[in-house]
Symmetry: C2
Subunit: 320 residues, 2 copies
């Protein structure tokens, strides 16, 4: 386990070093991308050589962030990871290449394993981009417009556009600072929140068609079969967040999504409202998670899984 | 046309007066409700007699705001409207009862008609609740938790949770201040943004089923028939925002929603992306609106209307 350092020391390290490789996590999201490229641009602004590396291709919707840095090729002297809770989350091939030689880790996950030589972790930050904002202020003053757009993207995507409970007053204060740089936050949010690929729309409509209500509409079960995925052309990324739909219906206390997998089993996602614990519900099937969102796996077809899930759900309302 | 005054003067008037009636606009939304009840609570905190009046019943999802004031019955000596751009928007019966005797109007609409004796209008405010925050600070210092919850609701709903381009750095700064009062903003946003009535879900799925794509998926047409409304049990409020769906599909430049009306005609809503002007598009059918969102009416069935709309849409892409 590496050392804990403060943010000033982290900034000092970056100031001292050059040829800096920035690692972001696999299946990159807005926060890790925003952090990585904002830092890269800040370092390049300080006339340093820097680049961002990821095990997976970055979705082209983030092009406005990627285009804000100059591509640079070099042998790294210093390796820093951003928004990475555990080196395993670098994924391959980055993990094998750099997993054991990370000099500095900057992150906001409470579950961070302090895998780097030096680590700065602030679990109170809604997004790692909040920390990067402060780090960049230490490095070169207020971020410029491009860095601000990258950091705003990180903050906005990690907080559901300031909707989730990880949002803090500080989140809003930083958002205000970033907006003052003249970023096109309206367009950023449109791309991040109000754009759906056609395959997602097609899948969503089949998923909504499958939604069934039970127990006086307190239980909703939605099923996503492999056939539905095939017909719509949706991939796993397109499924992101779809499990939220059943619980969004007013009055639903247990919202269940059953996703058919290859190999004769189903992945189950359960979202609940008070007083039902999703974690307890899923534990009955050997799964787990949080109080309001949990998951488990059940052998059998979607029909068989749904039947078992419904049988358990019924006990919650018959017992009362 | 009445006088323009500054916010200090507006606060002074409220401080001098008692038995204050607060009017909010018809079909009340989160902003007018948040403003009205936050001000009512602030005045009651100052030991004044005050109440909120609206021509329409407030949806029960706002109960946490309504419950923050004490019901009081009195003959008003001073009448103030909040978030009302024109007295007509009070609706009946409030318009006839009080439309010509409004002492003070506090609003954020650029289109405000200065209908009150004294008027404070700040069109740069994303929500009238931003102005009310400042007014309450002048009246009695930082709002308490209940006032803060009401004002946060107003700001969050008028900005699509900080997503729309009316949001300013100041909006975020005020949100930060309100969050510091310990409000349950996660629950507020869940109620406002992540809760749908079952009829809306049912209608949405029928509407999605009806969505058809043309011109290499650059045009999407969605139809909502009277039968669909009947089957789903959805009312006009449930239809709110549904016209946004067709343009949300990636690649769609013209998103059209055709809503069948009684009397053999259809209401059309058109949302576009660059370079298509929705206003110009709708002007061809005698309608109008903004560059990205406009509307018109077309005589005939949904099929007939869709055909005419598609014929026009095609010209945009064939011409190029």
């Amino acid at each position: 386990m590496g050392m804990k350092i403060d943010l000033q020391t982290a900034a000092q390290r970056l100031r001292e070093k050059d040829n800096i490789l920035i690692l972001i996590h696999q299946f990159p999201d807005g926060d890790t991308i925003g952090c990585g490229f904002a830092l890269c641009r800040a370092l390049q602004t300080l006339s340093k050589t820097a680049r961002v590396l990821c095990s997976h291709t970055v979705n082209q919707k983030y092009d406005y962030i990627l285009n804000s840095v100059t591509p640079q090729c070099f042998e790294p002297d210093f390796v820093v990871s951003v928004d990475v809770a555990d080196q395993k989350l670098l994924g391959e091939p980055v993990l094998s290449a750099y997993g054991d030689r990370i000099d500095l880790s900057i992150d906001h996950h409470g579950s961070n394993t302090f895998f780097a030589k030096e680590n700065y972790v602030d679990a109170s930050a809604a997004a790692a981009s909040e920390i990067l904002y402060e780090l960049i202020c230490l490095l070169c003053g207020e971020p410029d417009k491009q860095m601000a757009a990258a950091l705003y993207t990180g903050i906005s995507t990690d907080t559901g556009c300031f909707k989730f409970t990880n949002t803090t007053p500080k989140t809003h204060l930083i958002a205000a600072k970033l907006m003052e740089r003249g970023i096109d936050y309206g367009e950023i949010n449109r791309i991040m929140f109000d754009t759906k690929v056609k395959s997602r729309i097609l899948l969503e409509r089949m998923a909504l068609d499958s939604m069934r209500f039970f127990c006086d509409d307190k239980v909703a079960i939605m099923t996503i079969t492999r056939e539905m995925k095939q017909k719509s052309g949706a991939d796993d990324e397109d499924l992101n967040g779809i499990s939220a739909l059943p619980r969004q219906v007013e009055g639903v206390l247990i919202g269940i999504t059953v996703r058919e997998q290859e190999g004769g089993y189903c992945k189950i996602s359960v979202r609940t409202h008070e007083p039902v614990s999703a974690a307890e519900f899923c534990a009955k099937f050997g799964g787990g998670g949080h109080v309001r969102a949990a998951g488990c796996e059940i052998k059998g077809s979607v029909e068989e899984a749904s039947e078992q899930l419904l049988a358990l759900a019924k006990t919650y309302f018959e017992a009362k």
